[in-house]
């Protein structure tokens, strides 16, 4: 997604993410596109953590897509990793302009059932946003790094 579209997308995503976090009680929520560009976040305090999680989640999503194709499972709906204290939920959301990926991290205050339950509604809400109807799809090769940086600039305040 190009720098010019980001303002609109990031602003449009802020409220739905907060609602999703409130309903599911997840600790961290991150929205990225397939390139790993950050479109929205809740709960992170450091930029480098976002960059790491975004790039790993994008690659996990790509691996899941390849695995699903390889095994004939077609479209995958979500990945869940249950850790000792924290759990990870990664799921794709199809919007009219491009596929985006939700990364949610939660502990005992939530559950995978609860996240799954509200994720469907969250996905529908995002897909219906005006911002995704107009936004240009993912960056081309020449602008890739610049656009990744732009995502971080938009979701964090300047002093973070």
């Amino acid at each position: 997604m190009r720098r010019a579209d980001l303002d609109q997308v990031v602003a449009a995503l802020r409220q739905p993410i907060e609602t999703f976090v409130g309903e599911t009680r997840v600790r961290i929520a991150l929205l990225i596109n397939r390139s790993g560009q950050v479109l929205g976040q809740y709960g992170f305090t450091r930029k480098y953590e976002v960059v790491n999680v975004a790039s790993l989640a994008a690659s996990a999503s790509a691996a899941a897509t390849a695995l699903a194709e390889l095994t004939g499972s077609q479209r995958w709906t979500h990945l869940h990793h249950g850790g000792a204290t924290r759990q990870l939920f990664i799921a794709p959301i199809q919007t009219p302009s491009e596929e985006i990926i939700l990364v949610a991290i939660f502990d005992d205050d939530s559950s995978v059932g609860l996240v799954q339950l509200f994720f469907d509604r969250f996905g529908e809400k995002l897909a219906s946003l005006e911002a995704f109807r107009d936004a240009a799809p993912t960056s081309d090769q020449s602008n890739f790094e610049q656009d990744l940086e732009a995502g971080l600039e938009h979701v964090f305040l300047p002093d973070q």
Binding site: R25, G82, D108, D109, S110, S111, V112, G113, L114, Q116, L117
Partner: protein, 116 residues
Amino acid sequence: MKKLFEDMLDRLSRVPGVRGAMIVDAQAGVPIVEEMAEGVAGGAVAAMAASLVKRSAKAATTAKFGELRAIQLEAAAGHLIIASHRDVVAVAVTRVDAQLGLVRVEMRNVLEALKR
């Protein structure tokens, strides 16, 4: 184990007025086995019931009431009876005119069976 859960649900579901019953994984908030009437969203009930148990257990602990055993939720069109033991939650969804005494007895039996 699954057979045990299915037998429990079968007995619960036969109580007059019960629209459905399920055994839920308390940590994940997803059904282990379920028998729900058409139109009852089992997944949503499981997620919400598990969340309610977690929250109520914390409240019970804070109030020094000890271990949470059961929750009875009354609404305009029905009841939700929830009983929990460790990582397992039993849920019964009933109509408003259900024989609640009988449902509670069956829920207690479910709990006893889970403890064994």
